[in-house]
Amino acid sequence: MISAHGLSRSFDGRPAVEALTFHVPEGKLFALLGPNGAGKTTTVRMLLGLIGPTSGSAIVAGHVIGSDARASRAVRAACGLLTEAPGFYDRLSGWDNLFFFGRLYGMPDPLIRTRLTHYLRLMDLWDRRGEPVGGYSKGMKQRLAIIRALFHDPKVVFFDEPTSGLDPEAALAVRELILQLKSGGRTIVVCTHNLDEAERLADLVGILKGRLLACDTLERLRAGAGDGARVHVAVRAGAAQHARLLEGQPFAPHVEVTGETLRITVGDAAADVPRVVAALVRGGAEILEVRPETPSLESIYLHTLRGDH
C-alpha cells in the first residue's frame, strides 16, 4: 500500500530525510519513531503529495506521488491526515467544521451527515457538536481532528501524535479505534514519541533520524537488539553457587545474580537456553521459572539512536 524507494528531501541544500526505503503492506500499521526534527512530518508530507521529494519515489494507494497534479490529488483523496496541531475554525461548530472538510473531500451531504453522526457518537462529541470549536478542550479538538482524518473513509491514514493531549481513557479509546481501523483493512502510519503506544499498535516500526536507522517488525527488531538475548532463571536456592557452574560455558557468556534469580546472556536463545537449563539441572538446581527477557521498544529505540552517534 505504501512503498518508498530512496525517498529524500532537502531544504535549502540541507537534507531533512535521506534515502528512505520501506514497504508497508495493506492493512498494516507502521509506527514511525524518531526525535524532534528527525523528518517524520516531512516524510508524511511527501507521502501525502503535499511536498515533493528531492529524489526517490513512492507509491501510495496505487498512485506514484509527485508524478503529476492528478496523481497528487488522487493520493490526497485516498489518504487521511491527522496533523500534529489540530487546527479548526474556532467560531464554527464542530459539526460545521467537519461538514466543511467533508465537502472539500467531495463527499455528498447525506453521506457526510451519516458518517458524522457515527463518528461524533463514537468519539463522544455528539452532544457538543453544535458548539463553537473555540470552546472545546484540547482533547476534544484532538478527537474532532481524528474524525476529520477518518470520515471520508481513506485507504491510508497518517496520524501524527494521535493521543497527544488526551486523558488516559480517551487515549485508550483512540488506540482501540486505530486497531479497529487496522482490522478493517486500512493502512496506517503513526508518527509518535509514545513508544508504549507504538509497541501496542505497530506491525512495523521505523526509527528515523534523517535516515531510516531501523525498519522491521517489532519481533525482528527485538531479535536483533543488543549483544544477545537474555533469560531469567529463578531457582529454589543456591543461585550464586549455580551461577558459578555456568562460568566459562560458551553458551552463557555473562551471568548476573539477583536474589535467587540468574540473569543469563545467551548468544542464540533458541539453541542456548535449553543448554543453560540442562547444565543447571545437572548441577542440582531446582528451577522454578525460565523467562526470556523481552527488550522493550524503548530500549531498542535508544540503542538504535545511540548506535547512530
Partner: protein, 269 residues
C-alpha cells in the same frame, strides 16, 4: 462550483458569529446611505447659497455641468445635484475595496495561524479551486453588501426627492455601471493583490495594517487622478471596467502560478 462556494459559506458563518466585525460592516453602509440622501435633500439649498456667495468650487461644478450633454435639458440646480450624487458613488467603490481587503489579508495567513491550512491542502482541492474559493469568500460578501446598500441609498434618495424633479435622480447609468461592474472588479483586484501578500505573510495583523496602508491611499490617488473623467465620460467608465477585468484575470493567473503549497507548509512555523 460547490467547492468554491464552501469558502464563501464558511466566511459568512464566521462573519455572522463574530460580533467584532459587525461595526466595520455597518459604518460604510451607514455612510454610503446617509451621504447621498443628505446631499439629495439639502443640495438645492446648499447650491443656491453657494452660488449666491460665488463659491469657487461650486462655480466650477456649475460650469462643468453646463457643458455636459447628460444635463443639457435640466435646470442648473438639478444638473448639479445629479452630478454631486454621481460623485459620491465613489463611496460605493471604496466600500468593497476597504472591506474585502481586510478579509483577503486574513484569507491565507489566517488559515496558517489557525493551523487549518495543512488539513485543507491535504484534501483533493486544487490550487485554483482554493484561491478562487478564497477570492469569492473575501469579495462576494462585501460586493453583495455594496449592492444592497446602493439599493437602499437609491430608494431613499428617490423618496426624499420625489416630485421635485421631472425624473428620479437615481440610478443614473454611471451608478449602474460603476456600482454594478466597476466596484466588484476593483474589489477583485484588491483581493487578489492582498491574497498574494497573505500567502507570503506570517502575521495576520501586520498584513491587515500593511494592506490598509497601501490600498486605501492607492485608491484615493487613483480616484484623484481618474475621478473626474470617470464621472463625466461614460466611455471612460466602460474602458476602466474592461481594463480592470483584464487586470483581474492576469492577477488571478499570476496568483495561481505563484502559489507554492510547499513553501507555505514548510516555511510557516
Amino acid at each position: 462550483m460547490r467547492v468554491l462556494l464552501l469558502f464563501l459559506q464558511k466566511e459568512l458563518k464566521a462573519i455572522r458569529t463574530d460580533s467584532r466585525v459587525w461595526p466595520v460592516y455597518l459604518v460604510f453602509p451607514v455612510l454610503a446611505i446617509g451621504l447621498p440622501t443628505f446631499l439629495a435633500t439639502l443640495a438645492p439649498l446648499v447650491i443656491r447659497q453657494a452660488m449666491a456667495k460665488q463659491d469657487a468650487g461650486m462655480m466650477q461644478i456649475a460650469h462643468l455641468v453646463q457643458i455636459m450633454p447628460d444635463f443639457a435639458g435640466v435646470s442648473p440646480e438639478e444638473g448639479m445635484t445629479r452630478y454631486l450624487l454621481r460623485s459620491v458613488a465613489v463611496l460605493f467603490l471604496l466600500m468593497p475595496v476597504a472591506l474585502s481587503s481586510t478579509s483577503a489579508a486574513f484569507s491565507i495567513v489566517g488559515e496558517k495561524q489557525q493551523r487549518t491550512l495543512e488539513p485543507i491542502l491535504a484534501t483533493p482541492i486544487t490550487d485554483r479551486q482554493f484561491l478562487l474559493g478564497k477570492l469569492l469568500a473575501a469579495g462576494a460578501p462585501t460586493v453583495a453588501m455594496t449592492w444592497a446598500t446602493a439599493l437602499v441609498a437609491i430608494t431613499l434618495v428617490d423618496i426624499t426627492t420625489h416630485g421635485r424633479y421631472a425624473a428620479a435622480l437615481l440610478p443614473d447609468r454611471f451608478w449602474a455601471l460603476g456600482i454594478g461592474a466597476l466596484a466588484p472588479l476593483l474589489a477583485t483586484a484588491v483581493v487578489l493583490v492582498t491574497m498574494r501578500f497573505s500567502a507570503k505573510a506570517t502575521d495576520p495583523q501586520a498584513t491587515v495594517q500593511a494592506t490598509a496602508l497601501a490600498i486605501i491611499p492607492g485608491f484615493l490617488i487613483l480616484i484623484g487622478l481618474f475621478g473626474k473623467v470617470l464621472t463625466t465620460s461614460f466611455t471612460a467608465l466602460w474602458i476602466a471596467c474592461l481594463v480592470l477585468a483584464v487586470i483581474d484575470l492576469a492577477l488571478f493567473r499570476s496568483d495561481v502560478r505563484t502559489f507554492r503549497r510547499e513553501e507555505i507548509l514548510t516555511r510557516w512555523k
